[in-house]
Point group: C2
Chain length 365, copies 2
């Protein structure tokens, strides 16, 4: 996707086998490229959230594992590197998945060939991620076009614009390119459909106000940042035509576990008859779980994320401020579960389906 | 209510006829008393939000008007002072109401008696406000006791504690004492009922994270600040026993116009069978309006409230930071309307009633 008119991906490998990534800790206020030259650089890059977003963490981990093998391709070091990298974000399923995928392929071959094979496999993971997101975009584009059709041809509205509300950042910065929830929006924009995006700021970490806003601004797509409180009012007043969010985990019944606050927007969309879609790679589907409410463990994060905020001060420097009284207690659950009954449909790389088991299974033909 | 173990009100007048107020622009990080010696001080105090909250603005305006009359009690000056003060917050209905009430009484009497009469009337408004809030507290206490009873006697739960969620600040800092939505909580705490409050931070102005948290901390009531996104998750997981919010305007049908985000919490409470109450003085009831959605004009406030945040930096100084990308667009509606069907009941100084016209009328016997 574009930044200042130039095409970028979140990660790429140079001919000198250096990994380059966009530093996401300083966005949206600074645009910096970080270079990772060895497995240690990658470990800290993942741990310190220079890269974030499940798919991107997986791809970065894959490249990092290859760099570890470059230093020492012994069986012993394969295991050591695998454990080391996985410990950078222990709960990131994609990280383990990417490392295991490479491990299982290189463990069976000659030591001398392991490094070049690992790099090839990491590149394959990268390209597959781009392809997957692009397909989610193509499938989601059909949904957007349908909504356009309904609004303008059937209801004969005059102003030809669609308002899409999104929560958190499920954009290209969370993947290699395109993103998941934002991919359909990018595809629609490139087909000259007139889209305006309501961007939930998404407290406590503000990934909407920082990353989603930055992505849309860079791509030239009209948007407005809103506080997380505002979506209900907008829906009640016919200012939202559809909602698209991502999913960290999807149960076999179609419940969606996503960033905290998603559930409240789903309730408001349902109450106001507004289509509510989750866009997700099928790899997020957890077939072992039927109902998500009260069963999916919800990560409880640090109180500091609520008490403190980081941004640009009036001298142009990044600064942290405290907003709650000193000594105040906070509680910070990071995700919630939206039951499938509030979800109009799921947009995946394999197609669109209803949020139920039968329909999800049908994706697999 | 208490701050550091001492009883305070938000406003009082000294024997020397100076008005003293708690400076609400620096809370929760600093506790400062401001002195207002003349009508100009009062004008800027209201305009710059040193005092805020509809009832408190009314009382402050009343005293300010009296100080204006002290300087010059002529008919001409009465009108001049009235217009001047009302222009400090043109949309604050209570401000006009308090000034007009005093005006109508003093305009008919001798010039020489006008000042002492105005002060007496301003004091009456102050005392009536305290009395009104205290009664809302007493009536709300009955509701809390009923919920306690249900949870512990009927359902035989073991841990004797009630979790109440509130949005924004409808506490004593918005009134003279007690508050509206928080008054029942203070009354319950003083009767040794074990209450824990979930405090919505209430973006964009964070009145929850700053003022409500400060009030509860000062009064020694257990609470946790949460982001506005978290309430749905908490309700879904049986961590909320009731919701109490304030109301800026209540329609004759029982719709409640309150701080943006209230509606989303009402939807989640309804979905999860959690009692949702609004606490309000009957003066907020607008008998001229039946349905509030799409009829009550919603104030659209500055984008800056979303883009920038103010708090304490690591040097202990107040500092403003920007969180959105430079050049980013935001949209900032300040209130929303919760339709009466999502409201369990209204708590007023005249009693508790259902959120419908018949029940509201019955309050007036």
């Amino acid at each position: 996707m574009k930044i200042n008119g130039k095409d970028w991906k979140t990660i790429w490998i140079t001919d000198d086998l250096e990994i380059k990534v966009i530093d996401q800790t300083v966005l949206p206020h600074e645009f910096k490229i970080k270079t990772m030259r060895n497995i240690k650089d990658v470990y800290f890059g993942i741990k310190n959230m220079i890269v974030r977003g499940a798919p991107l963490i997986g791809v970065t981990g894959g490249y990092g594992f290859a760099l570890g093998i470059k230093e020492d391709s012994s069986d012993k070091n394969l295991i050591k590197c695998s454990n080391y990298l996985k410990s950078a974000r222990p709960t990131a399923v994609n990280l383990s998945w990417a490392i295991d995928r490479i491990y299982n392929k290189v463990a069976r071959i000659e030591k001398s060939e392991r490094f070049s094979f690992a790099i090839k496999e990491a590149k394959a993971i990268e390209l597959e991620d781009i392809e997957m997101c692009s397909k989610i975009g193509d499938n989601g584009l059909k949904v957007i076009k349908d909504i356009f059709k309904k609004k303008y041809f059937e209801k004969k509205n005059k102003i030809k614009n669609i308002n899409i509300l999104t929560h958190c950042n499920a954009g290209w910065l969370a993947t290699v390119d395109w993103g998941t929830a934002l991919a359909p929006i990018y595809k629609a924009h490139r087909e000259n459909l007139n889209i305006h995006v309501w961007v939930d700021e998404t407290r406590p970490r503000n990934q909407g106000a920082s990353l989603t806003a930055y992505e849309l601004q860079s791509e030239g797509i009209p948007y407005s940042v809103i506080v997380d409180n505002a979506g209900g009012y907008l829906m009640q007043n016919n200012l939202v035509d559809m909602v698209i969010v991502g999913s960290d985990r999807t149960t076999s019944n179609g419940d969606v576990c996503n960033k905290i606050g998603t559930y409240l927007k789903a309730l408001a969309a349902y109450e106001n008859n507004i289509p509510f879609f989750a866009a997700l790679p099928v790899s997020t589907i957890d077939w072992s779980l039927e109902n998500g409410v009260n069963t999916i463990p919800i990560e409880e994060r640090s109180e500091e994320e609520i008490d403190f905020l980081r941004g640009l001060n009036n001298k142009g420097k990044m600064e942290t401020i405290r907003i709650t009284p000193i000594g105040s207690k906070s509680y910070n659950p990071a995700f919630d579960v939206t039951p499938s009954k509030f979800i109009t449909g799921l947009i995946t790389e394999k197609g669109i389906c209803k949020a139920n088991k039968e329909s999800l299974k049908s994706l697999y033909g």
